[in-house]
Symmetry: C2
Subunit: 168 residues, 2 copies
């Protein structure tokens, strides 16, 4: 009745980035079919004070590598948020997945009880590894993937929830 | 390095429904402050062919009770989607959390390897319990909670990601 933290985290991240990559393929095809520049989608947001699609992808990457790094106790690679094009964002996803896959399962030994400290703007959160995953890592990761999907849907890209789930 | 499936599922669902309930409080306050009927938000969608807020909440409930029922091997309660008001939707959340909390941890024995069959419109998916949780249960659940948040944000309700995370 238990889950491997390593398998859960790595499978979640790789599966959802595969699905996000397929969503970006659909976005690119929509831009071609409807005759607009795909960068319009990358700059699109659901509210003026929310992040645009490009930053949602960067944030999904940040959450993924931070979740793995913190739970496994390894250094989190720094990826400066310089991507402005779809190929650059795809490369960001690829680098993130490569890092996530590179961390050996053995590094997750004791991750459920490991102390995880997250410094936010105005506050510091302290979690056990298990609580961090459930109340910070996973909800943040799914937040950015779902919001990326929602931005594409809101702009009329023809995708459905099964594409988000990566089961089509 | 492992997580209890019972604790992971129950903590995720109760934590995120607490956060959703707080988001709905903020939505109600916004409707009062800006002088509109909160039912406008309940019927609001991000795309014409996406579900409105009310149905996102019902779908989060459906996913939560199905995830618990399938993994624990207990009957999934049927909640007809008749809610049209905020108090009714709050009651739906309450009933869902009550069910999720009512299932004993012992019922999740062997849940990681349990065969889970999901009949979708045109296709049947067969998973192990662990794969079902990672590729269906959790992504679906977070999808509906995040989309509910996005609908409120898109309509100008003053909330932030920390409210979604339930850490404010």
């Amino acid at each position: 009745m238990s889950l491997s933290i390593h398998a859960t985290v790595v499978n979640t991240i790789t599966h959802m980035f595969d699905s996000l990559s397929a969503l970006l393929d659909r976005a690119e095809a929509d831009a071609v079919a409807r005759g607009y520049d795909v960068s319009v989608l990358l700059g699109s947001r659901l509210a003026p004070d929310m992040f645009p699609l490009s930053r949602q992808i960067q944030s999904a990457s940040d959450t993924a590598k931070a979740t793995v790094g913190r739970l496994a106790g390894v250094e989190i690679p720094s990826f400066p948020d310089t991507e402005t094009t779809l190929p650059e964002l795809r490369e960001r996803i690829r680098k993130t997945v490569d890092f996530v896959r590179s961390v050996p399962a053995s590094s997750f030994e004791g991750a459920d009880a490991r102390e995880v400290i997250v410094k936010a703007r105005d506050r510091t959160f302290t979690f056990t590894g298990a609580d961090y995953l459930v109340t910070w890592g996973l909800p943040n990761f799914y937040f950015h993937i779902t919001t990326a999907y929602a931005i594409l849907r809101h702009n009329g890209v023809s995708i459905g929830k099964r594409d988000y789930l990566g089961l089509s």
